[in-house]
Symmetry: C2
Subunit: 102 residues, 2 copies
């Protein structure tokens, strides 16, 4: 991953509404959680919720699976994993250099 691909993912998570949604999806595990359940949990209008969810899907953080009338949101864990790896590899302090030199 590079800056160009990491930043949009961070931006998606940089909203309390979407971070809340994402966490609920993660907690649901591999079976996912229906859009309707999310709507009940955070009580915002369907259209607003749908907009946020499509952003999460577009960023690769979650995917969707339809079962009849119900759309399940499923966490794509490796996407956040990749972002976290990028951050730890590129944005974390080099402890040895930090504590020794100067």
């Amino acid at each position: 991953m590079d800056i160009q691909s990491v930043a949009p993912v961070l931006k998606e998570l940089g909203s309390t509404v979407r971070l809340t949604i994402y966490m609920q999806v993660v907690r649901a595990g591999r079976q996912g959680v229906p859009v309707g359940d999310i709507q009940q949990a955070i009580s915002i209008p369907n259209s607003t919720l749908s907009h946020h969810i499509s952003g999460l899907v577009k960023s690769g953080l979650i995917s969707q699976r339809r079962e009849g009338r119900v759309l399940y949101c499923v966490a794509e864990y490796q996407q956040l994993d990749s972002v976290i790896s990028f951050l730890t590899e590129n944005c974390c302090i080099d402890e040895s250099r930090y504590h020794s030199s100067n």
Copy 2:
């Protein structure tokens, strides 16, 4: 950290410009990097750069230290650390549950 404090930090990093700035500051280590050096590296107008930097400061990701006419930007590593910890603790899969049940 909770959702309300983590989201704004993620939002700050969710811009390619600011993520680039932040990475340069991190690379500079404990001495930090002058605003002017960042400006030379990414060549955007002073006023635009200043706006982005103040966002990073406000979010706690960096701090500033003045030496004469030069303002150094210094990474506040523990802020990103806290965010990463929050994400790994709250947004990562419970592997045991994922692989076993069902």
